[in-house]
Every structure is written in C-alpha cells, then in structure tokens.
Amino acid sequence: MRWFALIAAVALCLLLGLAAGEQWINPFAAGDGLEHMILWELRFPRLLTAFAVGGLLALAGAWFQVLLGNPLAEPYVLGVAGSASAGAVTGLMFMPESAWVMSAGAFIGAWIGIVAVMFFAHLGPNRMLLAGVVLAAFWSAVLALLLALLPEQGLFRAFSWMMGDLSHSDLPIPILLLAWLIALICGLILSSALDKLLLGERHAEALGVDVKKLRSSLLLLASAVTALAVTAAGTIGFVGLVIPHLMRLLFGSLHRAVLPASAIGGGLLLVLADSAARTIIAPAELPVGILTAIIGVPVFLFLLLRRTR
C-alpha cells in the first residue's frame, strides 16, 4: 500500500510538473503546436532530469549516512559540493560562454574533492567526517577567492548554479536515468551488507561483512553519484538528508526498502521543488536549491524533534 502510494505520488507529481509553469497546460488536452512543444520538449526532459538527480542525491545521502554511521549526514558532508562549485566557477572563469565547460569543471572539481577525502577514509567514520568538514571549509575559502576574481557578468550564473539549477543541465537524460538505475541496482546488491553495517563495524564484521571493502565501495559509489548529480544540476541541498530519513520512517530501516524508496522519493521531491521553482515567480525562475531548503529545513527539524522525544 505504501509503495503504491509512493508510485501514485510520483505519477501525480510528474503530471503536475508537466502542467505547471509560466503557462498552465493540461497535458491531456494539449494541441500539436506550441503547447505540445513546451510539454514534451521543454518540461518533460527537465522533469526527468529532476527525477534522476533527486533520486541520485537521496541514494548518495542514504549511503553517506551508513558510511559515516550518522543518520544526519548528507551527500555534501565531505566537501564534495564545495570542490565541485570551485571547479564549476573555474570553468566559468576561463570560458564564460560555455555551459559545457562549467559542467566539466564541476565534475573534475567533485572528483578532486573525493580524492582528497579518500586520503582520510582509513581513519574510520568519525575522523573522516571531521576531515570532510575541514575540507568543506577549505573549498568554501577557495570558492570565495574564485568568486572574488570572477568577472561581474559571470556572478549571476555562478550563484544560480551554486543554489541548484536544472535549466542548464548538459548531461544527456538517458545517461542520468541509466546512472539512477545502476546506482539503485548497486545499492540493492550491497543492501544486506549495509543493513549489517547499521549494527556497527564490529558486529558487521562478526556477521561476515568485509567492512573495509564495503566502506571503500560505498565511498566511491556515493561520491560518484554525488559528482554526477552536482554536475547535472549544481548544489541542491536537503534532498539527500531528508529523503532517506523520511523513507526510514515510512518503510523501515532495511536497505532493500530504504534504497528504492529513497531513489523514488528523492526524485519526487525534486520534481515537486523544480515545478514550484518554475512557477512561483514565472516567467522568472527560482533556484531549485532554495525551495528544497525551504521544504527540507522544517521537515528536517521536525524529524530531529521527533528523534529526541
């Protein structure tokens, strides 16, 4: 029943996403002309991008939470967003006209951030988290420096990317959807080991999990997925934090349920947020990251209060 409700909510949100925008269009009554083009050539691809990116962020969040043994971790906790942003702004600095170079810069930046974190992976979850927080501060400083050097005309583009922007995604949609599917399958393959890791490293090892290998695979997988999402849509916060948490409440803690539910639920939230971002101040657009934060912060605080009770 809960699965049915989740799938029905996705279908409903996709329909709403198609209909909403500067001009409201009934998807079932659109003609062949301009409305058809707006629906299927502009809104539909963007909805798919939002769905895939949201799902990837939620999956990465769920993985980082288990990896760091902290249910309040999120995909950007280890500073990957900062390094990706620094990479994107560097790309913008050198080739301001090319969105592609900016995406490439973000992708390279994300991986530089990941490699930096990898050096600290052997220290265990707590120290790795600490290293990630310090690295995030470092990347923020680098980003601030780059923004100070960036010509004025590039600033708006940089800021809108840093707050999440699905309007300029250059990654082909089939690649994003395929990544969503592969990530979900990898997650399901690892799900039994991930469940055991919820008991702590010692218990997991005593139950036959090769914890060192699992942690490395998880770090690589979660980071790669974060890098892809950040390249496609800039930094969008709170999806990876709130969705896995919410899905644990709805579907229980075992990963064979949490991961597919998060992959779908993350997509759902971002489709909803992006539809709102395109509509609220139409014809202008809000950066989607602002909306995920506005939805995510109260939900997160509610969950936090619920946890402490």
């Binding site: 939470q65 288990v66 043994g69 902290n70 249910p71 469940d195 055991k196 919820l198 008991l199 702590g200 010692r202 218990h203 090892e205 005593a206 139950l207 036959g208 999990v209 090769d210 644990r248 409440l249 229980g252 803690s253 075992l254």
Partner: protein, 244 residues
C-alpha cells in the same frame, strides 16, 4: 571432548601495548571457559582476537586450521561473537536486529525472542528499549547463530537478577548441548556456576589457563582483582566489610 580451537603462545596487543602474552589453551565442545580479570586487562580484546576481529600473534587454530587462513564469511559459520550493544540511530527494530543475525536461514525469530523474554518488544525500535532489554535482544541474536563456538563479552551486563540467572542457565544448557563457550564475566558467583575452565588475565601482561576448580581459590583471585574476597563454604564472596 572435541578440540575446537587451540591457542599456543598467543599474544594480544592494543595500541602498541601488550595486554597478555604466552596464553596456551584448548577450547573444546561442551565446555565453558570463563575469562576473568580487572578492567582494561584485555579480556574483550582476547575475544576479539579469537573471533578474528583484531590480529594476534602466536598460533590460534580453529579445527586445526590457522584462524587467519579463514575467509571472513567462512568464520561466521563457526564463531558467533556477542559484544557491545549496537548503535540505535537508524531505527532498527528488535525483529530486524534478529533477522540480521539469523541471516537467510529459517530459524525461528519468534520462538527465540520468546525464550529471551522479548516477544512483546519485537516491533519496537532498539532505541526505545532499556539497556537490559537491548542486552536480551543481543542474547536472542546470539541464540539465532547456531555456531559451534560462542564468544561472549559480559553477557549478563545490564540484566536484572531474573535475567542474569536465566542467562547463566541458558549458557549451561547450551554447553550441555555440546556448544563451546568462552565468556567474559565479572561476577565471581556466576563464573563459579558455569565455568569448566578459567582464563585469568592479570592486567600486567600475564595470562593463566586452567581447570576452574583449581583456579577458584581466594588468594589467587584476591591477587588478580586486587580486591578482598572471602571463602564462605565452597563459595568465594566479595568482602564488603561489616554491615555497620
């Protein structure tokens, strides 16, 4: 009795410091070996080493094969380890915790939970339970692991008197069914009730193994714990001093 695990000249270190060295012992099916010693002496580390969870030097052989030669997954069919209470942050329920221990097998989670007096808690998150209830959950998880060797780190910790007695009775009944058990205990009475053999770790690097009835001796244990014990009949009792 069947030899299950053989330790020869085993040394266990943590953080560069030698906790115990030169330990020789045989762990056999149908016997309980109790590990006694002061806090920080290395009792838990010894169990971790025997479970293959931390390295040790010397020779540890399980069924004649060196422990390091076993694959992690292979070891789980021979050894079950009970240690600290697992974290509760992720909202696992008692049922889910037990399922993770039972694996893909069809062992009966419900009847095991009933045996450990936690049947009514099965669908509650671990974080909502008391420490004693969580400890009983861990003991139920252990019972779902049908391995020939159990390594238990303070199984009676957090338990009330009724469940402490129940736990010791459970260990005796498992021993009688042929299981090999090595357990860390802090209560001398419980140790006397269940031990066939003792390992005494003195916290200064020394470790002694022998038959329980030979090592349960007031002078030796007083020395081991650096705490006063008195012999009352056949029992050794902590000396708390006079009532007034």
């Amino acid at each position: 009795m069947n030899g299950l695990m053989k330790l020869a000249d085993v040394t266990v270190k943590r953080g560069g410091a030698t906790l115990l060295s030169g330990l020789n012992c045989d762990i056999r099916a149908g016997e309980v070996t109790v590990v006694l010693g002061p806090n920080g002496a290395g009792k838990s580390s010894l169990l971790l080493a025997l479970a293959g969870l931390i390295p040790a030097s010397g020779s540890i052989a399980l069924l004649g094969k060196p422990l390091p030669d076993y694959r992690r997954r292979e070891l789980t069919s021979h050894i079950a380890w009970q240690g600290d209470l697992p974290p509760t942050e992720f909202g696992l329920t008692v049922w889910q915790r037990l399922e993770l221990a039972a694996g893909q097998g069809d062992r009966d989670v419900e009847s095991t939970a009933a045996a450990m007096d936690i049947a009514a808690l099965l669908h509650r998150p671990l974080g909502e339970l008391s420490s004693g209830e969580r400890q009983r959950t861990e003991l139920a998880a252990l019972m779902l692991r049908d391995t020939p060797l159990w390594l238990l780190d303070e199984p009676t910790a957090h338990l009330d008197l009724k469940h402490q007695i129940h736990c010791i009775q459970m260990l005796k009944s498992q021993r009688d069914k042929g299981r090999a058990i090595m357990t860390v205990l802090h209560d001398i009475q419980q140790a006397m009730a269940v031990a066939d053999h003792l390992i005494l770790i003195d916290g200064k690097g020394g470790a002694e193994y022998g038959e329980a009835h030979k090592l349960f001796e007031s002078r030796k244990l007083t020395e081991l714990f650096d705490a006063p014990l008195t012999q009352q009949g056949s029992a050794l009792m902590p000396d708390y001093g006079d009532r007034k």
